[in-house]
């Protein structure tokens, strides 16, 4: 275990509050929790990439903010109009 992997392991705890809100609060609150979980995932992937010395994980970390951005925008639009 190096410092990158310790950081990634600690950061994984951030999924617990996000999951709690996603399960217990309303739809829009769940969307906010999903956005935060996406940010946490991105940072965990960067830390894993450095910790395991795998450049491919960094590729995922680059793609995730853009994919999450489009998905969250669609979801926000959908929540505002239909649900």
């Amino acid at each position: 275990m190096n410092v990158w992997l310790w950081g990634a392991t600690a950061l994984l705890l951030g999924f617990v509050p996000c999951g709690w809100i996603a399960l217990r609060a309303g739809y829009v609150d769940a969307l906010v929790a999903l956005q935060t979980a996406g940010t946490v995932t991105t940072l965990v992937l960067i830390l894993f990439s450095e910790g395991f010395d795998r450049a491919s994980y960094m590729g995922l970390a680059i793609a995730l903010p853009f994919v999450g951005f489009v998905g969250s925008l669609f979801m926000a639009r959908f929540l505002g109009r239909h649900l």
Partner: protein
Amino acid sequence: MTARDIAIALLIAAAVTGELLCCVGLVVMRTVYDRLHYAMAATSVPPFLIAIAVLIEEGWTQPGINALVVALALFVTSPVLAHATARAARSRRR
């Protein structure tokens, strides 16, 4: 342990602490607007701290620049997401 290693460890610790505090803030806050505030704070400082740590470790190579691009992408896209989410919350309240 060199000064470089200590700087990297401190940057990662600060980033992880900030990110976890923002996650806890989601639970502590009561309204969706307050929660949005914490969600967007999670995309501002911690990604840059991690990007700086990667840059110290790797220098201006592909991993370092990639980490900086990720931090910038999060920083630029999050205000748009916050606006869209707040609009959705407002239209659902009406």
